[in-house]
Symmetry: D2
Subunit: 310 residues, 4 copies
């Protein structure tokens, strides 16, 4: 369960308040504010705060005095121009902050993005909750045969059941042992007054990487787009991709023109190398070309032909 009853009430209370501001406001994102977007079995992404809108990007690009209040059609054209030509600095002028609940092994991938600010729940200071990620049956994938870093088909029957049993039992046992070492039960009571309990910063090392943690994560729009281009990509691990998908939804509500340009120019496109461009030119000229003709290695050639739908 992503959030408990007390948290739900707190969120509702926050959503019930409204104050006047002179700043740029995005109604579609206000509508989402504070609400958890569920991800995986017990995780979520919540937008906690934001600064700026499509107009703030335009304004920075024009270094003008106002909010960039020309016609929408002109703003759209400028945003698309910036995206196409990788003029990235104006996109740094918007900022967004998320609250995220996610398994530790996902957090380990995520944190590799260094151009963001993070405050994570501290297991030195506090005790982690008994919450572990258990994959849905359709995500119990085999190791890919042709890609060392990827998934193949889905496990079936007994093997699938056995995997889930292992994950569930090991998590339960390790958590029970975590509590025993801490000498503290679910209610925070001492289990055995004759024992002293291991320090939290040590006991945590017994927890598996499937345990959930949470953090505040804040970055600017440019770096968010970079994150999404890598993590909403089909090559990203499913368990982080679903977080990126939820954030993409927030992106579309927040900066619709930027999101459209991003999906057209960055997500949906393809990069041709010098040799790949040469190959395309020859093909457009009606030539029959092969990998060898073009000096392109077989694997790369296959990637190129795939992307061109050949």
């Amino acid at each position: 369960m992503p959030v408990n009853e007390a948290q739900k009430r707190e969120i509702e209370q926050l959503r019930g308040q409204a104050t006047e501001t002179r700043r740029a406001v995005v109604p579609a994102l206000e509508e989402m504010l504070y609400k958890p977007l569920p991800v995986l079995d017990q995780g979520f992404v919540r937008v906690i705060d934001y600064m700026g809108d499509d107009g703030a990007v335009v304004q920075a690009a024009r270094v003008s005095y106002g909010r960039g209040t020309r016609q929408v059609s002109e703003d759209r054209g400028l945003l698309r121009y910036l995206m196409r030509h990788r003029h990235t600095t104006p996109f740094e002028m918007c900022e967004i902050k998320f609250h995220v609940k996610l398994p530790v092994f996902v957090a380990r991938q995520w944190i590799r993005h260094r151009t963001a600010s993070v405050n994570e729940y501290s297991a030195r200071y506090s005790i982690l909750n008994r919450e572990f990620y258990m994959p849905a049956p359709d995500q119990l994938s085999t190791q890919s045969q042709d890609n060392r870093q990827g998934r193949g088909g889905v496990l079936q029957g007994e093997e699938a059941a056995r995997v889930l049993d292992i994950l569930r039992e090991d998590a339960a046992r390790n958590y029970a042992d975590y509590q025993e070492m801490l000498n503290e039960d679910d209610e925070g009571n001492v289990i055995d007054p004759k024992r002293q309990g291991l320090a939290r910063e040590l006991a945590r090392m017994n927890l598996p990487l499937s345990i959930y943690t949470e953090w505040y994560w804040k970055c600017d729009l440019h770096n968010l787009l970079h994150f999404l281009s890598l993590r909403a990509d089909p090559h990203a691990q499913y368990e982080i991709r679903v977080y990126a998908d939820a954030m993409l939804e927030a992106l579309r509500a927040w900066v619709p023109l930027t999101a459209e340009a991003f999906e057209d120019y960055r997500m949906g496109g393809v990069h041709l190398s010098r040799a790949g461009l040469e190959a395309v030119k020859r093909m457009l000229a009606g030539e029959q070309v092969s990998a060898k003709d073009c000096g392109i290695a077989p694997r790369e050639w296959r990637e190129l032909m795939d992307s061109l739908g050949q």
Copy 2:
């Protein structure tokens, strides 16, 4: 003149609008929003947008669900604790964006702070205005005799007048020559139809470093504090310090508890070295100590005694 009539009207219009938001709002900063705070003879700093407040820092430190709504006294204690122990990451959770008009030689110092986002007026693309910094008479300082990087007394009489004449005349001549090379007058009209005009990206190289430029500059609260600790410091050059002072004013309106802790622990304090601490301990024990006793070099000893008011 920091802003012209058209800009004034635009700012008034922006300030006249208000919209509802569910985000944290800081009334004292809203009161300042968009208004130019005048700096130097023709410069300014304007707060254009912000995200978060003192509560957002507290919330990140607690990784809690709400806005950090405990009693103010507890929040104040936590913020002071964070500042004292240099737990800096929660301060990254707030963001602010300024619009700044400043001389190029000040911009060159400012840009050395790399953890900010910047969009500057482009002199490749546009023509710079005829606006140059002219120091006020009480800022026409001599070179310091005892500090190679600082100012001494103030120039007087004829020498001061001569300096101002030089600065004014050279700026005027260089700007007139800039226009002649561009072949474009104040109204944007071609001066001589038989000439073609030099590219803007080249003509600008004739302009002196006293010319004003402007930019949007955005950074998080932690990095703003770092900037202010260096640039609102007495060792900073006067011409950048006055910008830092204006930003400090915005800081106090925005995050009053953080600003107070910052001024108590970072601006107003002093760092004692291992040997300096040893010296203080011996002095507290009633010992008469000298630089030599303590193994401290003369210059450093002088700095230490100054800071201790000895």
Copy 3:
């Protein structure tokens, strides 16, 4: 065992080679190069490469043409001046690269330092080794009673033995289950040909945070000093502090003058707040002062008196 036989031979081979270079060379660090400095029970830190020396910092501070070849005494004075006045940019001119083997829960703290470059062993791509951190008996600490983020005394007798049993058994079981889910044994052979094996990127989630990983970690001297000031500090968790201590040893070999200045001005000193400085001045004037007189909160007063040895 930090490194195996094959690795030892490879390291010896690398250490046996020498080539001529025109770059600055530091013999004391060359002596250490590639050698594992053992840390914890199975971890290590190895210096893999470096760029620059004390002279490179001096050179950058002087923006001179040569290598900064004045007398050592002058260089020392300049380095101490830079350190004392937090002129940090010249220290960015040196770079060092480490190869580190460390438990995952330590890696999670370490990676919060964002101004470094990292390449970690990938558990999406490869299978992790059966190597887990087991604390030495004198490190099995209890939770601190007066500091929620710290350790108290050491567990004794039966409780200590029980903790080690738990850590050992859970690690062994989780690893065996990891292999079973992967359907792959220690030699990389398929365990059961009728099963397909779970993808590596999923199976890893069953591993506890005590498992060892390894990475290349590279940063500049300024950022290394910042890392060390936080992680070689008594408040840092023991398990990361021992890595910082090993890196401090490399620092002293690499840039002895910088290391000395760092230990004098950053590690060994203390920061006095505005009010703390005021209190010291009054004490030096022979006044009897209390926390209340000075407007300092009790906890902070205690810290101040402790640091002054009062």
Copy 4:
């Protein structure tokens, strides 16, 4: 003149020294070390230090123990794979440091790259030399008519001569006035003992943006490639592009396999948007398509057709 006689001797002395090292050494770059590569009329780029080679990138990608000593053909394939798929972190494992002499208006563009370390000659502390950039006659370009940020043809005859006269005369006058305000002549002697002289940090504001400055600039290989992809691009201003070209030469000597992959995949290629890719697919299928058919704006369509050689 890029370097004077004393500097030449110092460089020769440095180049005459060689020491043994266990680190990776790149003979082709050692050959270049310290030598100024002349750029513009009085500027230069010199490689001062470096860390790592192509093998260090490979090693990081493999997180192996040795230097990445497989066959060159395998290393080349891996490097090309990393470049093609934008796996950028292994390229951060190499570092290079340049000494650069460049006009201030170029330095202002350059410094926008924030992921580098910089130490610049300080005009607060020292007096700048009388060295100004004067464009070669074939670089005296007009403003482009179809691109607001670019150059058109070359100025001829009288207009060209007039521009050079202005640049030369204004630079000479502003420098003479700089000296007069400082009250210091070329030999550092006081001009008029009755005057006190303006502080250096103020007098510098009279200098034009064409004056030369110098700095040490250090960054990792990944960020260098990013810099080069933007600044060695035909859209970059000529005066910074020539610096990028000189650095590209150093790149080819330093990491030849990386440089080759960079030029094939990043410099020589083209990015197709979602709609652009769709258009190419339809063209390859033999369809006649127009901008309108494909939902592509006219300007973007022209760019696309240009890049495809249509």
